[in-house]
Symmetry: none
């Protein structure tokens, strides 16, 4: 049987085409700490579709009422590229498919594609399912045939396939044959426990391809930190369907990371997984999904991480200026990412000038030398500008003639303590100059920095209402040279954002409150200067990947 | 030439043995955001050595005065397992090795092993080094021969080898032959830009093994998320020396992660990389290095992550109860990790009882249950006891009948600020009970925590002169759940020491001053209770490696 084939745009030869199956919304949410509301799932699904994936697994309607709701809402959406798939298991032992509540829920989901998982391992059949080997084969075949009879396309996920194959290869192969007989268009071999090694995957996939002559897929987990390599190894052995999640989210160590697999397929194996040109959207997609899942994006992820093309070492930066390809395996623009030079004490003028270009700033001739001196001097006292690009931008702006800072700090005082019967408390008083007028105000907070933040916003809001749109999203503290104990220098990094952008600022002092105060004020000053200009003018001041 | 061979304990056949070369302290610190003080580097090196690695690269003495200081200090340490290696480059073009400042710095480091990197790629030789292909070959051979003549073992790192090989395989091979002629004991093929795929690595390593018949190593980066698979592929092709970093720290997307490679080598490839039984320490090592680098450990790391064996899905948890191996690829105890079901934190009384034994404490029957409750309750509010064993010991002591704390905290108040013309200031007032007498005192400091520390010592010194011997050696702050900005929970870890020992305590609060106050007070209480007993009795309460 030749199943209907999705996608295959842009005239790729069939063997060049890999179908990508995203399970972020189902397997991805098994990650500890992720919980997506139905609205979140719909929003992610829309982005995955616009990006150009072939299949989007929306959930397991039989196991979870929230998932059933997702499918209800998904029916009303016009999907551009993707087919929505609903996930479920083979029917229960000794139950007709039409009487199985899980399968009824699957049909009710109303998707054109259903994905069914079944057991491949004799151990799982007997010890977990507690049924017979023959009944398991019937469960697989009949479940798939039932869904096909109801007009569904069916993808079969062979759970624990590689472990099952190692235990009893002939039985494991029989389970796949049952799925093919039932009418599955693709048979996906799952490394459910994630501990297989690439050469094992490659050998088994090649053997199954020869034995079945049927389209194969791969579903890998990252328990040996080899999920990406395992997925690619399966494709080299002939699989043309790859399951994974955005950012590798998933239970335990995660699922195979599509944000690395897709660029590897397209750029290293010269296969087609996406519509023409879509790959450039992958960095933004990765950050978007992290944002919705309420997780900090991993800066060091391959291809899509904020640091994936960041260069810090002096030797590297010098070499990059002589030969741009010398420390990059691909052109970062191919995946919508950008090269960054990390500004630090090791920087030269060149670093700073290319930074000014990145920020779209006109720097008066020679001013970069002065700013570099300030950076070096402040780094010597404990600041670090490599993660505080907005502080660098402020230094560059302040060096421009005609720049007028929105406010100036004069004094601050913070009182924090604990009193028996009262508990802890924190209060801040501040004095700042706004438009040459001195403002003194105070606020309470959950801690001293929170109180300072509150007082600063209160003082600024009457003149700069935009301060209300600026939010603090992260606050990091590092003690430098810890051997001085509590009198060591403290470095504070603050991430702020408004509706469009996110930026980071730094402060350093032996007094942690003082360091926080300066990072806080820089963060707000930068946000106010952005807000004072046309938003679209500044949308490009930070790489696209920075913009949520 | 047959170079001296390190290690090979426990009678492994030579071909079963893989030398692990750690470069966390050099290549790992190229990661954006990592900066290690000399003391941090020494402490990590001691842990790596105790863990049983073969080589520890301490730094690049020719490029960085901080690294030179590390090697100076390292000379006085008796290393148990590891050889310390110093890193450097081939001599400059047209300069005799003895006149090259980098090579002089390398000799001054005084290590028995030197690692030299050189260029393999014609493009890099001409475009970056800007010298001739022949001169580059001489630079490689003469540099290594020079170090050999000074009695050093030499490891050669062939930078950009795989890219260079793709451009001009014959020249790339020639550079390795030059290294062998110079006397390098191992020739390490580096995937410097990190974009190679496992099958490419495997083919090239196999070809070089056949061509050179010389020990080979691998140094991989993670730009295609394949660094672990690439390292393992090289070993399968015959490499027996693997370079990487703890937790995969490194520039851009990181270096190859030893915390996944080592378990893969030992458990999946059945090779020996560590002394017998050492593998069980790898989870602790991973977390320890993250702690010192002030980075949150990645919970989802293969083998060592807190979630690596955590089960959340209902199906998985049910299956695990029927068949423990059903969703785990290995027994987590093999790597010192533990299975967790995510719903209920099953930390176990046993854990705590063995902790009490470690500390030499008599815990009254049943008290561990109560202490466990306290730990869970405090962890839920943001503390982390993993790196704060002295806080655990204090909880156990406080549960012993007859334990009388040396003091009790009543109130504190801190005032910190900045005033024009005056600069920053910080003052603390405290009220504590010492021997049922209430003491109120105050002190100034360079910051609010320093002022609190000063006040506490001042209050205690008349009754407990031993407080003068207790020093604070490190102070670390981590903001948990950074998304709440300045109102997030703050965790403070403090390391204290006296003449004999070093210990760590923890505090957590939304108010950073309050969190610091509790960690500070615990640190001093623990020190005073130690001082009240025979010093030698407690010398072994913390591993020797913890004592600076």
């Amino acid at each position: 049987m030749n199943p209907p084939h999705n996608g295959a745009e842009q005239g790729a030869r069939p063997s060049d085409r890999v179908d990508v199956y995203d399970t972020t919304l189902r397997d991805g949410t098994q990650r500890e700490g992720i919980s997506l509301a139905c609205e979140d799932k719909l929003s992610i699904a829309r982005h995955l579709d616009a990006f150009g994936l072939t299949f989007i697994e929306g959930g397991w309607p039989g196991s979870n009422p929230k998932d059933a709701q997702f499918f209800e809402r998904a029916k009303d959406i016009e999907w551009k590229h993707a087919k929505i798939a609903a996930f479920g298991s083979t029917r229960r032992a000794s139950l007709a498919p039409e009487d199985d509540p899980g399968l009824r829920a699957l049909l009710a989901a109303g998707t054109s594609v259903c994905t069914i998982f079944g057991k491949s391992s004799v151990q799982h059949v007997t010890a977990v399912l507690r049924t017979t080997l023959d009944e398991n084969l019937r469960m697989i075949e009949e479940t798939i045939a039932f869904l096909r009879a109801h007009g569904r396309r069916v993808i079969y996920d062979a759970e624990h396939f590689f472990d099952g194959f190692a235990l009893d290869r002939s039985y494991a192969t029989e389970t796949l044959r049952a799925a093919v007989r039932g009418g599955a268009e693709v048979v996906t071999l799952c490394d459910t426990n994630g501990g297989s090694m690439p050469w094992q995957i490659e050998a088994v996939v090649a053997e199954m391809k020869a034995a079945l002559g049927h389209p194969l897929g791969i579903h890998a987990h990252n328990d040996g930190e080899c999920a990406v390599a395992n997925s690619i190894a399966a494709v080299r052995a002939g699989a043309r369907h790859v399951q994974g999640t955005i950012n590798g989210y998933g239970e335990r160590c995660g699922n195979a990371n599509l944000c690395a697999i897709i660029p590897n397929l397209e750029l290293k194996l010269d296969l087609r997984a996406l519509p023409e040109g879509a790959l450039r959207g992958i960095t933004e997609l990765s950050h978007y999904v992290a944002e919705v899942a309420n997780l900090s994006p991993d800066d060091h992820m391959a291809y899509v991480g904020r640091s994936a093309f960041a260069h810090k070492g002096g030797v590297h930066v010098a070499a990059m200026r002589r030969e741009p390809a010398s420390y990059q395996h691909i052109d970062p623009a191919l995946v919508g990412n950008a090269m960054r030079t990390v500004v630090s004490e090791l920087s030269g003028r060149g670093n700073l000038l290319s930074k000014a270009e990145e920020f779209g700033l006109d720097v008066p001739t020679g001013a970069e030398v002065e700013v570099l001196e300030q950076i070096k001097e402040r780094e010597a006292r404990g600041s670090s500008f490599e993660a505080a690009e907005a502080s660098v931008a402020l230094l560059l702006r302040r060096s421009s003639p005609g720049y007028k800072p929105p406010f100036r700090l004069l004094d601050f005082k913070v009182i924090a303590g604990q009193r028996e019967g009262v508990g802890t408390f924190a209060e801040a008083m501040i004095k700042i100059a706004v438009d040459d007028e001195v403002v003194i105000t105070a606020a309470e907070g959950s801690g001293p920095v929170n109180a300072l933040d509150g007082a600063l916003r209160k003082a600024l809001a009457p003149v700069y209402p935009a301060v209300r749109d600026i939010q603090l999203v992260d606050y990091k503290v590092r003690i430098l040279d810890g051997r001085d104990g509590t009198s060591a220098t403290t470095r504070v990094l603050i991430n702020s954002r408004d509706a469009h952008r996110q930026w980071s600022t730094v402060g350093a002092s032996t007094n942690i409150i003082d360091a926080s105060w300066h990072a806080l004020a820089d963060g707000i000053e930068y946000g106010l200067t952005l807000a004072a200009r046309e938003p679209q003018q500044y949308t490009s001041t930070l790489p696209a990947s920075e913009v949520a």
